[in-house]
């Protein structure tokens, strides 16, 4: 029923709610998107490093010849190939390591004389990516000086970071929801005072509490949805601008990741969630206030 018995068009409390919902939904959309982007980035990174390991066999040190080092590398390779979880293990050719180092150390004779470690690139079978620890044990048993990096430390720090950002985003959304609820409570109380005479008449003519509360609730729902849609309208160009700026940054630093469809769905839901929250809060507030009447 679109008809309302209360002169809502005249009161400013409601317009304030709409404006505030716009800002709050805008902020929620930002928080949710930052969170989704962090998650997507983490998935992207972990997908590219999970199941890979890098083994470093230290270069010849004092008391050891470079052929000792080469033999250690062979030992590691041989041991790796026996492990069932290993799909492939390849020594990275010395030339390639040199090429990788050139930008930092310069080319020429000096670099080729450097005591470089031997690097072995290990790919685990896709179904046994969690055997990384036993593979590492095997390597260290073969050559105690070898260093195994399965990127887990790095990845777990990234996971912590993403988790932290997620919690902050959740906290923000919680604060935002609380602000919305409090605003609706105060705006509803203001309207209740403003419309007291009308409400008394409705009450005396036999309106049930939920009839009166329903009018406030319906109006809060509309304000929430309209404000929320405006918030998304504000958010869209902001997102576009950030995406454009991100594209200007080197691809390796900020990989272009796709946000999951669920995220866009959640964003589209925000106005309705805001509307529902406003609706229930208004309903509750009015019912409470009406209980002061006989």
């Amino acid at each position: 029923m679109a008809r309302s018995d209360l002169p809502f068009r005249k009161d400013n409390a409601g317009r304030f709610v709409q404006w505030l919902v716009m800002v709050l939904v805008f902020l929620s959309a930002i928080a949710a998107t930052v969170n989704a982007y962090t998650d997507a980035l983490l998935t992207h990174w972990s997908r590219s490093v999970v199941g890979t390991m890098t083994v470093q066999v230290p270069p010849a040190a004092e008391g050891r010849s470079s052929s000792d080092a080469a033999r250690d590398a062979e030992k590691v390779l041989a041991a790796l190939k026996l492990h069932p979880a290993v799909a492939s293990a390849k020594a990275i050719p010395r030339e390639k390591i040199v090429t990788l180092l050139e930008p930092w150390l310069g080319s020429g004779a000096a670099i080729t004389d450097l005591p470089l470690p031997a690097l072995i690139d290990v790919q685990l079978r896709p179904d046994s990516t969690n055997s990384a620890a036993s593979v590492a044990d095997l390597v260290v048993k073969a050559v105690p000086a070898a260093l195994v990096d399965d990127h887990r430390v790095w990845l777990s720090r990234m996971t912590d970071l993403a988790g932290g950002i997620g919690k902050i985003a959740l906290g923000l959304v919680g604060l935002i929801a609380a602000s919305l609820a409090f605003t609706v409570i105060f705006a509803t109380r203001a309207s209740l005072t403003e419309f007291m005479q009308t409400i008394e008449v409705l009450h005396l003519v036999g309106a049930r509490d939920d009839y009166i509360a329903g009018q406030f609730a319906r109006r809060a729902l509309t304000e929430g949805i309209v404000g929320g849609v405006l918030g998304l309208v504000l958010f869209a160009p902001t997102l576009a601008a950030v995406v454009w700026l991100a594209k200007q940054v080197q691809a390796g630093v900020l990989p272009q990741v796709e946000l999951p469809p669920l995220h866009w769905f959640v964003l589209a839901l925000l106005p309705f969630l805001a509307g529902l929250l406003a609706m229930f809060t208004a309903h509750f507030t009015v019912r409470r206030a009406l209980r002061a009447m006989v």
Partner: protein, 238 residues
């Protein structure tokens, strides 16, 4: 008018007051120890000097207040025991003409009168028909779309009466319903209450207008110094 909507039938007295006291806050009660039974289809005037508590007594019956002491039964239901939604349901069976009208200024005359029907969730086509018919009857057919603010005192009063009776309440409480109209219209408005009375409603008309009381053959309840005294009818058949 088509007075054919089904209402729950109820056999006992419409109003039963037992030892009722009415008051506001700490001051001594305005009315104390009033007992009163109003049968169905009764018609009473309620008289008494200004400030004596007529409106306060009526407000007990339209459930704006609860008694300080004593019991109030409407349609056999004890209001002290009734839930909030039962109280609302009881209020829908009572039509009130407020002394100060209490029209909603932001609604048209039509919507003001339609209010009780819409609250009772009467279908909109019935609302249209009943409200129009009633407004024509009280001579406000031309003013349906106007806001109350542009009406005269007497016109507002007629809107208030129309709103009170539009849902064919079984109990009609009219607080000075003819205070702002000339005698000719007063008689016409009384005729409306009498018609509803004949159709089965109990009516109480609170008034200062002695000539109105004298004109109709209805008993009066006189309230003075907190005491309610029934008096026999003064007037002849109207």
């Amino acid at each position: 008018m088509a007075f054919n909507r089904k209402k729950k039938t109820f056999e006992g007295d419409t109003v039963q007051l037992e030892n009722v006291s009415v008051g506001y806050g700490e001051v001594p009660p305005i009315i104390s120890g009033v007992s009163l039974n109003l049968p169905q289809k009764s018609f009473h005037f309620l008289t008494g000097p200004s400030g004596t508590g007529k409106t306060s007594l009526l407000s007990l019956l339209y459930l704006a207040n609860l008694p300080m002491a004593g019991s109030v039964k409407l349609f056999g239901e004890d209001v002290m025991d009734a839930s909030r939604s039962r109280l609302a349901a009881l209020r829908r069976r009572v039509g009130v003409v407020f002394q100060d009208f209490r029209l909603l200024d932001h609604l048209s005359v039509f919507d003001n009168v339609a209010l009780p029907l819409r609250i009772a969730r009467v279908p909109e086509d019935v609302v249209m028909q009943d409200v129009k018919e009633l407004l024509n009857w009280v001579g406000l057919g031309e003013h349906m779309e106007n806001k109350p603010a542009v009406l005269s005192g007497g016109q507002k009063q007629r809107v208030a009466i129309a709103r009170a009776v539009v849902n064919r309440p079984k109990l009609i409480l009219a607080d000075e319903p003819t205070g702002n109209v000339d005698d000719k219209i007063a008689v016409r408005l009384m005729a409306l209450f009498i018609e509803l009375h004949k159709l089965g409603s109990s009516v109480i008309v609170a008034t200062h207008n002695e000539s109105l009381v004298a004109r109709f053959p209805f008993p009066r309840l006189h309230l003075e110094n907190g005491v309610l005294t029934p008096r026999p009818a003064a007037g002849q058949a109207g």
